[in-house]
Amino acid sequence: MKFREAVCDATRLAMEKDSSVFVIGVGIIDPRKVWGTLSGIREQFGDRRFIEVGLAEDALTGVSVGAATHGLRPIIVHHRIDFVLLTMNQLINHAAKWSEMFGRQQSVPLVVRAVVGRGWGNGPQHTQSLHALFSHVPGLKAVVPTNPTDAKGLLLAAIEDDGPVIYIEHRWLHEDDAPVPPGYYVTPLGKAAVVRTGTDATIAAVGPMVAEAMKAAAALEQTGLSAEVLDMRTLRPLDSDTVIQSVVKTGRLVVAEGDWSPCSVGGEIVARVAEQALSALKAAPVRIMWPDICVPSSQTIEAKFYPGAREIQNAVMSVCNHYSQGQTIQNTVKKFDGPF
């Protein structure tokens, strides 16, 4: 099942199981079905549970907060995460605080699905990750699935959760294909996954950088280095315990995240390891992050913008003080193709 089909599958299962779940968003009745992530949903559940809204992201987020406090479970769908910036007042001032602010008398079960774009010149305003913004604020949770199985399990967990959850969906994972367990299951929020075990260094990766880390780990194996790869999956609450456990074993940490570095999730991981496992560190940790500029449109500079497996590989070799003759791999990130 493709990643995008897994998203759709989770949506369908949740709506079948719980009649309070509904979908709301701008342009969701589009025949392209938000890249197929909503195929058949409107047809199966009808317009009563499929709320098309004009361009009014702020209002529809508030509408969802209001509906959520009356027992419904809205799934807000944004074609681009960049549009979520129009809704920060509702998310941070309202949704995140609602439950505590009123002494925990109401909960706000709310999912914000936000797609991160990349490639084909989508440029500065259609390619941000914004992981960190949602991971900073208490009252919000944030998840970034990296494979079809988690795409489904984390979306179901997000829908089940009684607070607002930002579900960050990287567009260029949508076509990834893998076997997915049938039926209803949840991938618990707040648990990282050890996706490859190793002994020489820990690579804590976020989102699409997990695939890059796996490529790097495979290449590193050729040069005699054994890397453990973690898929952080949930950014808030952040499962730093799993990272620390791994670093206690490996003694070395490379963090790989597609987002800006200052005040990032990657930085938070490094900070917690330094605070809680300093003595385990045999080398200074390294972050592989975006350069500190906006994402450029032109292909040549865009190619220079995104770090990948090669940079991770080099970072691991450097924290391991390992300068092998082995070939450095090339970055071969799948390119996102086509105009939209």
């Binding site: 702020d58 209002a59 508030g62 969802s64 609602w98 602010m101 009123f102 002494g103 808030r236 609450p237």
Partner: protein
């Protein structure tokens, strides 16, 4: 019969307004004790709006007031003890001490959580209306906001959304001419707020917000429309705030409004005007009943425990 009903209604309306007025007077009188450590946005002067609107609603209908919410909370039937306790920051407060004056809630009576972010509540009310529709309930939802709030983009977005879906809701604007201390003429080029309803194909009208009977009647008509599925209405009630924007004092010394203006509005004071709805004896009974309730509420608040822990299960983030 009909006249009896009318008289009963008038009595109720007067009682509600008096309760609002006396409650806030008591808050004003006690504020200097520094026991209510919360920024209060006093409702005095507006009483006819909350009393009239809420009288036209059922208990299962919900209201989404803004931070100037003491009056709305009480008019809709929110528990007085819990409100006064909340102002005192006690664990028995309607928000358990976490919210204070700007964040009141009383779910059993349909007072939904209020926000300190101007206009933040408008779309919440639409969400409640959507939920009622989806759940097949016959309840309606009321968004309540000031003249200033109508300048925020979300006001426009929500009117359009509510109109498209013909939501069972009402938009109630309390136009008191000022946003903080800025006159509406310095903020809006065209100051008939109700006229904007036309842009969304929605009925809109301006009503004397100090005339509690007119408030009750017009709200009733809008409630009826909403209830039978004819969609939302924008009601603009003209009224006036007596005290400073936030706090318990008068503010003539600031100079943004004239004594004359304040006096003109006080001369049509909604509570005083409605005194004629009741007999002298009835009024006296009401006064003493309310006074006793307030004594009790303040005693309850002051003897209530403080909230203790920051949070039981501090979410590991």
């Amino acid at each position: 019969m009909k006249t009896d009903g009318q008289r009963e209604l008038k009595k109720q309306l007067y009682y509600r307004m008096l309760l609002l007025r006396r409650s806030e007077e008591r808050i004003v009188a006690n504020y200097h004790l520094r026991e209510m450590r919360s920024p209060p946005h006093m409702y005095m002067g507006h009483e006819a709006v909350a009393a009239g609107v809420c009288a036209a609603l059922r208990r299962e209908d919900v209201i989404y007031p803004y931070y100037r919410s003491h009056g709305w909370y009480l008019a809709k039937g929110g528990d007085l003890n819990e409100m006064i306790a909340e102002l005192h920051g006690r664990a028995t407060g309607c928000s358990r001490g976490w919210g204070g004056s700007m964040h009141l809630i009383h779910i059993p009576s349909g007072v939904m959580g209020t926000t300190a972010i101007v206009s933040g509540n408008i779309s919440h009310a639409a969400g409640a209306a959507l939920a009622f529709r989806m759940k097949g309930l016959n309840a309606i939802s009321v968004a309540i906001f000031g003249d200033g709030a109508t300048e925020e983009g979300v006001f426009h977005e929500t009117l359009n959304f509510a109109a498209v879906y013909k939501l069972p809701m009402i938009f109630v604007c309390e136009n008191n001419i000022y946003a903080t201390n800025t006159h509406i003429k310095d903020r809006q080029a065209q100051t008939d707020i109700f006229r904007r309803a036309d842009g969304y194909g929605m009925p809109g009208m301006r009503i004397d917000g100090n005339d509690v009977l007119r408030v009750y009647d017009e709200t009733g008509r809008a409630v009826e429309r909403a209830r039978i599925g004819d969609g939302p209405t924008l009601l603009e009630y003209m009224t006036y705030r007596y005290l400073e924007h936030c706090g318990v004092n008068e503010d003539l010394e600031l100079g943004y409004r004239t004594e004359d203006e304040v006096r003109r509005w006080m001369s049509i004071d909604p509570v005083h005007t409605a005194e004629k709805f009741v007999s002298e004896q009835e009024r006296k009974n009401m006064e003493s009943e309310i006074s006793a309730k307030l004594d009790e509420a303040f005693a309850f608040a002051k003897s209530s425990p403080w909230p203790e822990t920051l949070i039981a299960e501090e979410a590991g983030a």
